[in-house]
Symmetry: none
Amino acid sequence: MATAPNIDRERGLSDELADQIFEAAMRVFAERGFARAKVEEVAEAAGLARATIYYHFRTKRDLYVFLLQRGIEQMAVHVETEVAGIEDGREAVERLVAAHVDFFDRYQAFTQVVLLETWRIDPEADITPERILAPDLAVVGQVLQKARNEGVVKKLDSGVLVSSFFGLVAAAAIYFASYRTEFPHARMKKALVEIFLHGVLREAD
Amino acid sequence: MATAPNIDRERGLSDELADQIFEAAMRVFAERGFARAKVEEVAEAAGLARATIYYHFRTKRDLYVFLLQRGIEQMAVHVETEVAGIEDGREAVERLVAAHVDFFDRYQAFTQVVLLETWRIDPEADITPERILAPDLAVVGQVLQKARNEGVVKKLDSGVLVSSFFGLVAAAAIYFASYRTEFPHARMKKALVEIFLHGVLREAD
Amino acid sequence: MATAPNIDRERGLSDELADQIFEAAMRVFAERGFARAKVEEVAEAAGLARATIYYHFRTKRDLYVFLLQRGIEQMAVHVETEVAGIEDGREAVERLVAAHVDFFDRYQAFTQVVLLETWRIDPEADITPERILAPDLAVVGQVLQKARNEGVVKKLDSGVLVSSFFGLVAAAAIYFASYRTEFPHARMKKALVEIFLHGVLREAD
Amino acid sequence: MATAPNIDRERGLSDELADQIFEAAMRVFAERGFARAKVEEVAEAAGLARATIYYHFRTKRDLYVFLLQRGIEQMAVHVETEVAGIEDGREAVERLVAAHVDFFDRYQAFTQVVLLETWRIDPEADITPERILAPDLAVVGQVLQKARNEGVVKKLDSGVLVSSFFGLVAAAAIYFASYRTEFPHARMKKALVEIFLHGVLREAD
DNA sequence: GATGAATGAGTTTTCATTCAT
DNA sequence: AATGAATGAAAACTCATTCAT
């Protein structure tokens, strides 16, 4: 896991350069969205000439996919590390929420890119959100599935479970990223765990 | 409420034509996203000449804002009608979820536009998601606030509450819209209500 | 004949504008060849903005095909007029040569475009020289065929006959166009007729 | 003769490598024409890296000139060998046609390059077709001149004679190369000799 | 000698927008 | 009110060429 093929890394793009471009692309795509972002901007942000980007990536889209894959890979690694070795299903779910909130909070730019842009890159091609998010979805699905099998989590449709999980976490991330509220990270994390696990109703306690 | 200013309706755009353009814009913007959508495409879809669109709307962006405002207005009306007159806070929250799921399900195209594009139209301008979603957020906030005050809902930060609500509902909408799963609408609605109210844990029951 | 479909004339390109663009394209493509010619240059030569060319022609290649088709059409008309009504096979062939030399001489720019560029536009597509030259080839083939049937012309393979005819006439056109020799038009015409009809050997007389 | 200066052979390009590049360039330039051909393609076809081509040739144009010169050199040698030692003027002319047809037929790719591209390489520079074709033109001119002086060939302008000769032979070459007709080589050769020497009219016999 | 990497200088094409009718 | 025609301003992508290794 977390060792995806990285189809895009053409012509022996060195790790260093890959990082450089990754960072630059992240910043630019997050701020402007795929369509409004200019390759020139990414190049500039990476301290390279525009043509150099094209030397390493056939198209703007390829660059974008590279960004997504690499980011999700890192996210999956982060999350997996967090939930690794936890036996208790309930705690695993808690950690799952927490790990996502942490990651989304730390990489707000990337989060926006992934959550808002992935849906429209190229529906007809094989670059669906499902596929892009696959590494993380694998971890999330696994944890939730296990918890469900253990009877810790309700017998809900697994699609609904996963989408709810993502919706909750992502919405908060985007919401707070957009409004840069001073709302403390810790309290947000706690609140989301609470809602996901127990719902909003008071009597549920 | 539901009687927004409609700054855009220039030069006596007839209701009929407004509908025509609204539908066309919805389809096109949903399918391609704001940036990739062409004014020409909207015109064509509306059976009009490109210049005619410009006769009624100063810019592409104005057309887009018109679409959003009109759509959200309708959504707010729909939701408000659904929760109107319900005294019981808990039931109101249930209906709130249900009403959104229904609306999102019926207007999938519009949902995609609102939920994925709003965030990036024009950050520096006054067209923030907050403002665009205002009519609906007002209703949602009201219902949740009331329920919280009544002690039905937990004392969570209201921003978190609202974002959670939206995240849950919206994610499901997009998720199912994208994959056109055969998952029955009714069951999805029920599941989301369940999760939002009681969480995913089984022991909560 | 000489009333081809003109598939390219999109969006009601007026006759006047068509002429304008035709002339401009001719000059530019002749001087620089297809690949080196810039659409910008054609636009400028036509007194239009570059985008205006693109308003009327989808691509540079389309513009080029328009140029070829229109030119050949005119050539076929010219030639056909010259040989029309001539009963004597031998005289018809003479006139055929003369008409081509005249046309090629008058429209040297166009001649270069047709004879040097056509072969490589798009081999795999349906824009072969054969098809482009069709209107003229039809006339040439007809005249030669008739003369052959009448026993005026030798029983040579018709492909060889046509290609020889073209080769002779075209080579002279390009040769003299390139070197702008002071060689008198009339003498060249006579010489080519002589060679085509009787060959270069003296004893043949 | 046939021992041109070869200005291009820089940095001790070995014969083997020269051949390798010659073949590759021939194929690529023939297929795509000068402007559309990429140096990269030639390199690839030669099994070399792009920069290696630039190690041996200052520019793409230099590479092209190298190709032309080397090819024409070979052609001139071939033709000269064929007509060498022939006393009879008429037979020499016959052999001249035959030798060209043979060469063009065998090296169709090169033929296309020479006959279609030479005219536009660099008109303002000294790379005119006249100069490029010089080695062969020398032989052709010599043979025709001699025949004319001997009274075997008519007293036609020598430019017309040469252009007619080339036009006839080249047109057939290109024609048959393009359409890969199954027309037998031998018959074509005979027909062209016939036309060039005696013309197309039957009564001439 | 050979070449991977980098880039400057274009060029085609796209589109929102304007305007005369 | 409506629209065909025209265009300015981008922006993606290409490719010959250079250069450090």
